[in-house]
């Protein structure tokens, strides 16, 4: 069964990498894989608790405000704007990667700058939403909202909402920091001297992952 193999047998002799991607990029993929399971565990525990509850607040009622719109009832509009901002910043990130392939330093800097602005806009929106909900009396351990059918709601709703959107917001924040570092490195010509902009691709993978997680957070909290 077990074949005798000399201890120093080399299974792969080097040369072209088996996955045809750079080592760092492959490891970024595996890191994102593990991070996906972290977020998955968060969202699935939220789902489990929600499935075990007799009632749950109505997202159309809880998330119905828009900045400066006063008492106008605009459910989901604000959070859709946030989704749009994140998708748009994903596009500028891909364009930065594309400019990196073309060794276009100015293009990389321009698109990275737009991506950073998009990330900051998203964080600003989230800060507004959190502040607004806080003013309405919602926070960890406090839930002013009733369930859809008028029954009393537990604090599970607010606890999960603030924990999961907070964890995602922290990822957005780290992504913005990473992109700022990338912008400074590009500006100082580090990648130009290195001969390739592969580092931008790795930062890009992380940024797209943050966008990907938001797609699921959006569905789980605002649509269901």
């Amino acid at each position: 069964m077990a074949q005798a193999v000399p201890a120093n047998q080399k299974w792969w002799g080097g040369g072209r990498s088996p996955f045809n991607v750079e080592y760092g990029k492959l490891m970024m993929w595996y890191f994102l894989m593990s991070d996906a399971f972290t977020f998955g565990a968060f969202l699935i525990s939220y789902g489990t608790v929600r499935f075990s509850s007799n009632g749950w607040p109505d997202p159309n009622h809880v998330f119905s405000s828009f900045p400066f719109a006063g008492s106008m009832h605009m459910p989901l509009v604000f959070v859709s704007l946030m989704t749009f901002i994140l998708i748009a910043s994903s596009v500028t990130m891909v364009l930065a990667v594309g400019a990196g392939h073309a060794m276009d330093k100015k293009g990389v800097m321009k698109y990275l700058f737009f991506t950073i602005i998009g990330g900051l806009m998203f964080l600003g929106c989230q800060a507004w939403e959190w502040t607004h909900l806080h003013h309405e009396g919602a926070w960890w351990g406090r839930n002013p909202f009733l369930n859809f059918d008028g029954t009393p709601s537990s604090t599970n709703f607010t606890n999960f909402f603030f924990t999961i959107t907070g964890f995602h917001g922290f990822h957005v924040f780290s992504g913005v920091i990473i992109n700022i570092v990338m912008l400074i490195m590009t500006w100082r010509g580090v990648f130009e001297r290195r001969g390739h902009y592969l580092m931008i691709e790795k930062a890009g993978l992380y940024w797209h992952f943050v966008d990907l997680v938001w797609v699921f957070v959006f569905t789980c909290f605002y649509l269901f």
């Binding site: 399971f37 608790v49 075990s52 009632g55 509009v77 998708i87 993978l205 966008d211 569905t219």
Partner: protein, 148 residues
């Protein structure tokens, strides 16, 4: 090390021709349109048909899966990697199928057990709060003859 450097150089060269700005913008429009449909359904259509919430949720899951596919395949470029690379990501991700099914099933089972064996809990969580009209109550009941 020398081998590695040459590998990166050739990869870079071959990908340079593969970078397609048009595909990126097409993906952007697809994602935007899906989000807009979700918004319209969630805002204007679903609130009027609350008894059919389950079907709307299935619709949202389909839309979410489509968006996730486009982000991973195009933005993260995974579709254009070689098959073995795709498989090392896709196969472990299949664990999510068990993960979601098992835990939601468990939550649902716990709800039924608790409602059966803890009448106090059931009464507490199914009696509406007094003097607080349930919003949505007026539109919760299906209108007679409503088309769905």
């Amino acid at each position: 090390m020398a081998n590695f450097e040459t590998t990166t150089q050739t990869e870079q060269h071959s990908e340079e021709h593969g970078f397609d700005t048009k595909a990126i913008w097409r993906t952007f429009w697809i994602l935007l349109v899906i989000t807009c449909i979700e918004l319209v359904v969630g805002m204007f259509i679903a609130p009027h048909y609350h008894p059919y919430k389950l079907w709307f949720n299935i619709l949202y899951i389909i839309f979410t899966a489509a968006k996730a596919f486009y982000i991973i395949a195009e933005f993260m470029h995974l579709r254009h990697e070689i098959k073995n690379m795709i498989m090392t990501i896709a196969v472990p991700a299949l664990l999510f199928i068990w993960f979601i099914a098992a835990f939601l099933w468990d939550g649902n089972s716990y709800k039924h057990l608790r409602n059966n064996y803890d009448p106090h809990h059931k009464e507490q969580t199914t009696t509406p709060v007094k003097n607080a009209p349930a919003h949505g109550e007026h539109e919760e009941l299906p209108k007679p003859g409503a088309v769905h």
